[in-house]
């Protein structure tokens, strides 16, 4: 038994911060609020570092038991925390990136109303995310899972007076509910057939069973239902629609929740449940197919977006697709590796985009940017690092993780690999499109401002030349930029994979090194780098050298281009297919039919009937004394007559 590390402190610390800011924040100054939020979030990060430092001395997996929660017959759920290599990676990513984004938010949100509210929610999010990551059983994971959904809802709708923000929050929440429903059913199935939700118990009893290779058996259904949950949380086809809308939230929120941490919870969950998926190859295939398709689909939408945050949002969906593709070909460690590097560079991209938006006074349309390189050099440099990282240029972080995934996908099925490489090319293209449109050419914001376009600002003030962000925002950018450059180096020579191998089994590492010969591996690597370079070159030609070309191409493509601009009309299709029938059905059948026709009608008719009966009955109560006397006399006569009649009988 290894000594207790008091893992429970890690999630509790941000919760205390959230409580202090939530209850008393209104009366505290901005300085105090940010100090509280940063202290508690930073303390969680320090705890994470402490755990990492003690990690080698631990007996793994390390579980800490806190107390009973539910005890019903043989079924038991405990409050327990669970630590292994996978948890440690997630723990450090969540607390580390989370802390940096907290720092950044102090600068970004300084001018905003509801400052304390923002930090309270942000800390609350950290609490739930850490609960999710450190959970020792599925139910505790589910608390975190639902909790991050709540925090996400609160933060997307942070500017709740704006209608679009409020409905984006609702959309995210409702779409997530669909996924959570699948997750919940999976948990019920686990309870029913394995009598436990504890990770080690469930996995050990599943490990003894043979794999389900054909049909949809129990494990396959559990796997598919878990994937439904993961698709909801991690924005995969067909439940990805909420993530682009979630960009209504403040940019640090997009960075923290909708890029770096929360949306990767689905990947974490699938990786955590790898034992189930290994025993259900069919479910795993579905994971791979969904991931691959999402990667390609979202990337193509990203090409035509003009809102800087929307491009990044579709890019996030696409990169999450890569992670699921990795999980789907049983390369869990590659998926987690990409999760980590993605947290660095995508978090950075969003923060840098926030800095850009800040600089140009709240404008998010890339067509009104351009040439910002000279105004905001620090943002430009950090964003460059992130762009090269996501495009997969060596030696940036994204190269290593993406290459790893593509190599493993090639092993499993070259079709995955081919779509993956295509996506890599598209990714590189739209990211450099963003990069060129934002930072190169001439600044196009000024004439737009003169044409009376009110800068849709949240108080940044859209005036004068673009200006660099304050230091407190630049420092996190620089740290993340460094991580985006060197973050992938931990994967060189399979070290990252080796580190995670106790979790995912020794087999994974062995297969990876044997199956691909050195030459194939290098060929694949060259092809993916070539795809990235090609994307860069295409974006360079279209958006820097000959900026009139894109419009011509768009015109020549006609309908296809329109479809892409309108995101393949998926939102409209969903509205017609699901939302409209639901609203119409509710209106006609449930509201007009059942509620008004049956429930209201029953009550109204009862009341009417009672009134009619009383109307006739009240004729007796005329208020005329003599008529009362008459009724008494009649009554007496009836009683006497009755008595005489009975007496005769």
């Amino acid at each position: 038994m290894t000594p207790s590390l008091h893992l429970w402190l890690i999630p509790i610390l941000p919760l205390i911060g959230a409580a202090i800011n939530g209850f008393f924040g209104r009366r505290l100054s901005r300085q105090t609020v940010s100090a509280v939020a940063l202290t508690f979030c930073g303390a969680a990060f320090l705890m994470g570092l402490y755990v990492a430092a003690r990690f080698s001395s631990l007996e793994l997996p390390h579980a800490e038991y806190l107390g009973h929660w539910i005890r019903s017959g043989n079924f038991m759920v405990n409050f327990e925390f669970y630590l292994d290599q996978l948890t440690l990676v997630m723990l450090l990513v969540v607390t580390g990136v989370g802390f940096l984004i907290h720092i950044y938010s102090v600068g970004y949100m300084w001018e905003e109303g509801g400052f304390y509210r923002f930090f309270s929610y942000l800390n609350l999010f950290m609490f739930f995310m850490l609960t999710l990551v450190l959970a020792g059983n599925y139910l505790q994971m589910f608390i975190g899972w639902e909790g991050v959904g709540l925090a996400s809802y609160l933060l997307i709708g942070f500017w709740f007076t704006k209608d679009s923000a409020a409905s984006a929050g609702k959309k995210a929440f409702i779409v997530n509910r669909i996924g959570d429903f699948g997750f919940l059913i999976a948990l019920f199935l686990l309870i029913k057939h394995f009598g436990s939700l504890n990770f080690s118990q469930v996995f050990s009893s599943i490990a003894q069973q043979p794999a389900e290779t054909a049909g949809i058996g129990l494990l396959t259904s559990i796997g598919l239902l878990l994937m439904v949950g993961a698709a909801g949380k991690s924005a995969q086809i067909p439940l990805y629609v909420w993530l682009p809308d979630a960009m209504e939230g403040p940019t640090p929120v997009s960075a923290l929740i909708h890029a770096a941490t929360m949306v990767t919870a689905g990947v974490y969950m699938v990786a955590r449940s790898h034992v189930i998926f290994e025993h259900a190859p069919n479910a795993l295939t579905v994971v791979a197919i969904i991931g691959t398709l999402t990667a390609l689909f979202a990337a193509t939408i990203g090409i035509a977006q003009t809102d800087i945050k929307k491009v990044l949002a579709y890019s996030t969906v696409s990169q999450l697709g890569y992670m699921f593709m990795a999980c789907g070909v049983a390369a869990y460690s590659a998926g987690i590796f990409h999760l980590m590097t993605h947290a660095f560079f995508k978090g950075l991209l969003f923060l840098a985009a926030g800095s850009v938006i800040h600089a140009v006074g709240g404008e998010q349309d890339m067509r009104k940017m351009g040439g910002l390189r000279q105004y905001i050099p620090w943002t430009f440099m950090t964003m460059t690092a992130a762009t090269f990282a996501i495009a997969g240029f060596p030696p940036f972080a994204g190269f290593f993780s993406k290459d790893e995934i593509l190599a493993r996908a090639y092993e499993a099925n070259p079709a995955y690999w081919f779509i993956g490489v295509t996506t890599a090319f598209i990714t590189s293209f739209y990211m450099f499109r963003l990069w060129f449109m934002t930072f190169f050419g001439d600044y196009r914001g000024r004439e737009a401002a003169q044409h009376g376009h009110p800068a849709h600002g949240h108080g940044h003030g859209g005036h004068g030349d673009p200006h660099e962000s304050p230091t407190i925002m630049l420092v996190p950018l620089m740290i993340l930029a460094v991580l985006s450059v060197i973050g992938g180096w931990v994967g060189i020579g399979g070290r990252f994979e080796h580190f995670l191998s106790p979790v995912f089994g020794e087999g994974a590492t062995a297969v990876a090194t044997e199956a691909l010969s050195r030459s194939t591996e290098i060929t694949l690597m060259v092809i993916s780098v070539a795809a990235a370079v090609l994307g860069f070159y295409l974006a360079y030609v279209l958006y820097l050298k000959r900026p009139e070309l894109p419009q011509k191409i768009a015109d020549s493509l006609g309908g296809l281009y329109q479809a892409v601009v309108n995101k393949y009309y998926v939102d409209e299709i969903y509205a017609d297919l699901f939302v409209k029938p639901l609203v119409d059905g509710s209106t006609r059948i449930l509201w007009h039919g059942v509620d008004q026709g049956v429930i209201d009608a029953a009550i109204n008719d009862t009341a009417d009937g009672a009134r009619h009966v009383s109307d006739s009955a009240r004729q007796m109560q005329s208020g005329n004394v003599r008529s009362y006397a008459g009724w008494v006399a009649v009554g007496g006569a009836v009683i006497i007559a009755y008595m005489i009649w009975m007496g005769v009988r």
């Binding site: 208020g623 003599r626 006399a633």
Partner: protein, 100 residues
């Protein structure tokens, strides 16, 4: 000896007169007198049966009825005076404040 049926018929006639008067008269005083008439019609039958069966309880009942009637008359007359003071009428059809 006068048979009991004679008394009962007289009692019935008195009671019926009381009921009919009660129903058709509008003057409160008259109605009041009709009530007394009904009570006394009943009293007569009590006394008649008491004499018939040589039993005292009938007589005792009559005393009770007379006491109650006296009390009722007191209260009733007081009410009638109060009604007359406020409404300045003794017509029951005009005393209809309880009407809906």
């Amino acid at each position: 000896m006068v048979p009991v049926s004679y008394y009962l018929i007289l009692s019935g006639i008195l009671f019926s007169c009381g009921v009919i008067g009660f129903l058709i008269k509008r003057n409160i005083i008259t109605i009041f007198i009709c009530i007394e008439l009904m009570l006394n019609g009943v009293n007569l039958s009590f006394v008649a049966f008491a004499a018939q069966w040589q039993h005292l309880s009938g007589q005792v009942f009559v005393f009770f009825v007379m006491v109650v009637a006296a009390a009722e008359a007191t209260v009733g007359l007081a009410i009638i005076i109060a009604v007359f003071r406020t409404r300045e009428t003794l017509n029951v059809d005009h005393v209809n404040l309880l009407k809906l």
